[in-house]
């Protein structure tokens, strides 16, 4: 990532959103990732998401760990506060940010090494706490930044660039999230913006931990024949669960969907996700069915994408903690300090 700013000229064709901001305003620093890296497509989808959702950039905290994927936070929303923390530990930092200021929209970006190896514990516990944030896992089955070691999501038989095959079973982040009780679980593909953007939108608006596993091929270390997370392989195998669209209440509801095959899922904040089933009986509110579905297709060598599971009325960390509505960082000191009289009184209990 460089600090070379792009020229602030406004292209006349760029459409401003409700805040008068164009997509350009949602971009960040120049990417220094390899040309064609899946992560850059995710960045573009995040830019589009925030632009179309009229997100105020400075009300967003974007956090990441370490890895190529974790650099993503530098490449969008230059007017948001960014935090590139340490390897695998972004969820804890995000938890602290959320605890201090519940009014910020929190976007976490991580990699499969970051999330499933060194940071597996933190991911699990952020899910358990239902920290209100959008968590994007850019999954390429490989350690990009340290040049090509297998990550914990590498499939059995997947070959590293130098040829050796992975023999250990992968951790499937989506199955993991479902098992741990995540309240929003989705999977998508970096090359499929039409599906990814609505999912990101829904995730950003979700009132809890929104987990999105994005298959995001590494062109440098994991896009060769033999890799199961290459572009070619993913395109071939990925099975769209359902076309998804996110419809915020402030916008007109699009009617271009076939009403017969569609399902509308209301989000906690009032916005709606429209969800069209491929299989007649797919129900995104049934955790066990979601698990079974992913598992079944996985056994057939297929990647299921779409919004897999949604629970929109679960308590998030603040509800569980009964935290006041105002952000803690900003509470007046008078509301925090009991004062000298209380201390004097308290001291009597220790006499």
């Amino acid at each position: 990532m460089t600090s070379i700013a792009k020229p602030p000229v406004r292209h006349p064709a760029l459409e401003p959103n409700a805040l008068g901001l164009t997509r350009r305003d949602y971009e960040g620093a120049m990417s220094t990732l390899c040309a064609g890296c899946g992560h850059d497509s995710v960045t573009a989808a995040l830019v589009q998401t925030c632009h179309e959702l009229d997100v105020e950039p400075h009300r967003v905290a974007k956090l990441s760990g370490i890895g190529c994927s974790s650099k993503t936070t530098a490449y969008f929303l230059k007017e948001a506060h960014g935090f590139n923390s340490v390897h695998g530990r972004m969820p804890a930092v995000a938890t602290g940010v959320s605890a201090a200021n519940r009014e910020l929209a929190i976007v976490g970006v991580s990699g499969d090494g970051d999330s499933l190896s060194i940071g597996l514990g933190q991911l699990c516990h952020a899910i358990r706490r239902n920290v209100r944030m959008l968590y994007v896992l850019e999954n390429n089955g490989v350690y990009g930044l340290t040049k090509g070691q297998f990550s914990a999501s590498a499939d059995v038989g997947s070959k590293a660039k130098k040829g050796e095959a992975n023999r250990q079973k992968p951790i499937d982040p989506v199955l993991l999230a479902l098992t741990l009780g995540a309240t929003f679980v989705a999977r998508s593909f970096s090359g499929d913006k039409t599906q990814l953007v609505p999912i990101l939108k829904a995730g950003l608006r979700h009132q809890g931990f929104a987990f999105i596993d994005v298959i995001s091929p590494c062109v440098t270390f994991n896009d060769h024949e033999g890799s199961t997370k290459s572009y070619a392989s993913t395109r071939e195998r990925h099975r769209e669960l359902a076309p998804v669209d996110f419809i915020p209440l402030r916008r007109e509801i699009q009617a271009s969907y076939d009403p017969g095959g569609a399902m509308t899922v209301p989000m906690h904040d009032g916005s709606l996700v429209r969800f069209r089933k491929l299989a007649e009986d797919y129900d995104p509110t049934d955790r066990d069915a979601a698990y079974a579905h992913v598992k079944r297709h996985q056994e057939q060598g297929e990647v299921v994408t779409g919004l897999l599971y949604l629970e929109d009325d679960a308590d998030d960390m603040h509800a569980l903690n009964q935290t006041v509505a105002a952000p803690l960082y900003d509470l007046p000191y008078e509301q925090l300090c009991p004062g000298s009289a209380a201390l004097t009184e308290l001291m009597r209990e220790f006499e």
Partner: protein, 621 residues
């Protein structure tokens, strides 16, 4: 350095007259109770401590307990000191030996001429008897079996019964003891009754069968007025509350756990909206110490006062995050309640083994502000100070106490609070200031003190910047440029130098004619203070400096330079404080005489006196 900053925070120690007049010793002796962990002796022991305190007599209690829940030996040591000495003493006049497994050791430890109280329901091993010790056998077990039903009650009441016997033997005011019991069980009157009965079992038996009181005895005084019995972790928790900390994250670890427990209790009491039940705080029990540190750093970044209590193993795990907070300049408060290391060490024993690892925690060039409270009163004040320093200097700040300070009850002046206090939030740019700026540069030092202003997320678009633990320049942009990198880390060094002037100054006590010095910090203070007094009685005059913070400022170095020989007293094997002094001041090592005590029990004045004497003899030889 004569006449340099001299802080006198503690009352001048009165003379030690009254010790060892053979007609008996009043309010000046030590005893301990040996029991089995998990038998409920803690409440009887604290009842004793509290009753003596409430008789107006200075007293301190030290719990020497095992790292398990049930079954292993545990001791409670009580020192009564009319002179107000707070250090542990290993010279026991009386031992209550309730644990057969430690009879041999307990009997051996009574001072010659002292007393041993045992449960005579079972015979003592005759081989252990000593001629120079008076054995007081009271059938505590048998009496309690007769008086109470149910195994648990009988066990519990045996403790109250020995407390009753001690009340008779030491002349503890029975009414004061009863008042404490009444207060303790105000809501359970039934328990008051059984406690009173147990108390009298021991009391009456002792009165009937032995000449009470013993020559070591108590007499009402008026020396505890305005004081409280408080442990350091509770005091530190109050400091967090009063400082306005709102986010606490932690992972349970002895001996730091009670700090967060207390914070939670105080918050539940003072920070919950009575009508809505809403909380003005958030406590996160993290999955490990790494996460706890991460939560604190995230919360500090977003503008909340946040802290984590931990111990050595936690500090080790937090290392990477500590370096991140240092380099990215995020306020965070860490309480390190030290315990015995290395590794798991002896988790329920005390030590000062983390001095070096805290001062330089994390990889790369790092240096941290650390405060060293020496009693619960300072745990409270330094906790507040830690938050102010952390925000003012935007850096991690450590409050380094230890198990002895943190978990034992100390007699200290009641805590007070100045309502005029307002948190020092440091340089935080407001939305208005940002709106008026051309460009906000996160790491730009405008006034030359090494501190740059920070902005908080969500406040204003112009305040946005990218926080990164990787190389960055003064605008917070990524860099691998040598000069830009150096500019930032040099400023960090300057910032720490500025902080050194803002941290609590050392407390220096000079003594007429002293040519040598003695240095200590933290929990060693009480013992060193007492030792210095005793050494003066032996004709050895020492100037004493108690270090209260790191990094060291000029007065610390001045003190070292003003004395040819300085004893450095500390509780670790390798002389970490001595190393730190040498590293940071460049003072010649041969001037620093190291006195180390690291077996895990609180330091005694005797150990210091003997250590000084031995070294002086060596130097002389």
């Amino acid at each position: 350095m004569r006449g340099a900053r001299v802080a006198r925070l503690f009352p001048e120690s009165p003379s030690s007259n009254g010790r060892h007049d053979d007609g008996g010793r009043v309010n000046d002796f030590a005893f301990k109770v040996g029991t089995v962990n998990g038998t409920g002796s803690a409440s009887a022991n604290s009842l004793l401590l509290q009753s003596i305190f409430r008789m107006g007599i200075p007293v301190c209690g030290k719990n020497v307990f095992p790292s398990n829940i049930q079954g292993l030996p545990t001791w409670y040591e009580i020192r009564v000191s009319r002179d107000g000495w707070t250090a542990r003493t290993p010279d026991f006049d009386l031992i209550v030996a309730m644990n057969p497994a430690t009879h041999e050791r307990d009997i051996a430890e009574v001072r010659s001429g002292g007393w041993l109280l045992h449960d005579s329901s079972w015979p003592l091993d005759a081989a252990l008897l000593r001629d120079d010790v008076t054995f007081i056998g009271i059938p505590l077990g048998r009496m309690c079996v007769e008086a109470f039903s149910g195994g648990r009650e009988r066990t519990l009441m045996k403790n109250i019964a020995y407390a009753g016997a001690l009340a008779a033997l030491l002349d503890i005011d029975l009414e004061v003891v009863k008042e404490s019991i009444r207060a303790e069980f105000a809501k359970k009157p039934k328990l008051i009754d059984s406690n009173f009965r147990a108390l009298h079992l021991g009391y009456d038996y002792a009165r009937e069968h032995f000449a009470c009181p013993l020559p070591i005895r108590l007499e009402r005084m008026d020396a505890t007025r305005g004081h409280v019995l408080l442990d350091g972790n509770t005091a530190a928790a109050l400091g967090c509350l009063y400082a306005g900390a709102t986010v606490g994250a932690w992972y349970p670890i002895t001996p730091a756990t009670s700090l967060m427990d207390a914070f939670g209790r105080f918050c539940a009491r003072y920070r919950v909206d009575a009508e809505t039940g809403e909380r003005r705080y958030c406590i996160v029990q993290a999955e490990d110490e790494l996460a706890a540190a991460g939560v604190v750093i995230g919360a500090g970044w977003a503008g909340a006062r946040a802290f984590t209590p931990t111990a050595g193993p936690g500090i080790s795990l937090m290392g990477e995050f500590i370096g991140l907070a240092y380099y990215t300049e995020i306020p965070a408060v860490f309480f390190d309640v030290q315990r015995t290391g290395p590794s798991t060490g002896m988790p329920t024993r005390t030590q000062q083994g983390d001095l070096l690892s805290v001062a330089y925690a994390s990889h790369g060039d790092t240096k941290h502000v650390a405060l060293f409270p020496s009693d619960p009163g300072e745990c409270f004040r330094f906790a507040v100070e830690a938050f102010d320093l952390a925000e003012r200097f935007q850096t991690p700040v450590f409050v380094v106490s230890d198990l002895d300070i943190g978990m034992n009850d100390w007699m200290i002046p009641a805590l007070t609070w100045d309502d005029a206090y307002r948190p020092d939030r440091g340089e935080v740019v407001t939305a208005e200031q940002l709106a008026a700026m051309q460009r906000f540069s996160r790491y730009l030092d405008v006034d030359g003190d090494g501190v740059a202003a920070r902005s908080l997320p969500g406040v204003h678009p112009r305040g946005a910047y990218f926080t990164r633990g990787s190389g960055h320049d003064k605008h917070a942009a990524y860099t691998e440029d040598a000069d830009a990198y150096r500019e930032v880390v040099d400023r960090l060094a300057l910032k720490l130098a500025t902080a050194a002037k803002a941290v609590p100054a050392p407390e220096i006590r000079e003594r007429e004619g002293a040519e040598m010095g003695i240095i200590a910090l933290g929990g060693c203070h009480g013992a060193v203070l007492e030792a210095v007094e005793r050494l003066a009685g032996e004709g050895i005059a020492l100037d004493y400096m108690r270090i209260r913070a790191f990094p060291f400022d000029a007065p610390v170095e001045d003190f070292l330079r003003a004395h040819d020989r300085v004893f450095v007293v500390e509780q670790n094997r390798d002389g970490q404080l001595r190393s730190l002094l040498q590293l940071e001041t460049g003072i010649a090592g041969d001037r620093l005489l190291s006195l180390r005590d690291y077996g895990g029990v609180p330091l005694s004045a005797r150990a210091v006196v003997e250590g000084v004497m031995a070294q002086l003899a060596e130097v002389a030889a």
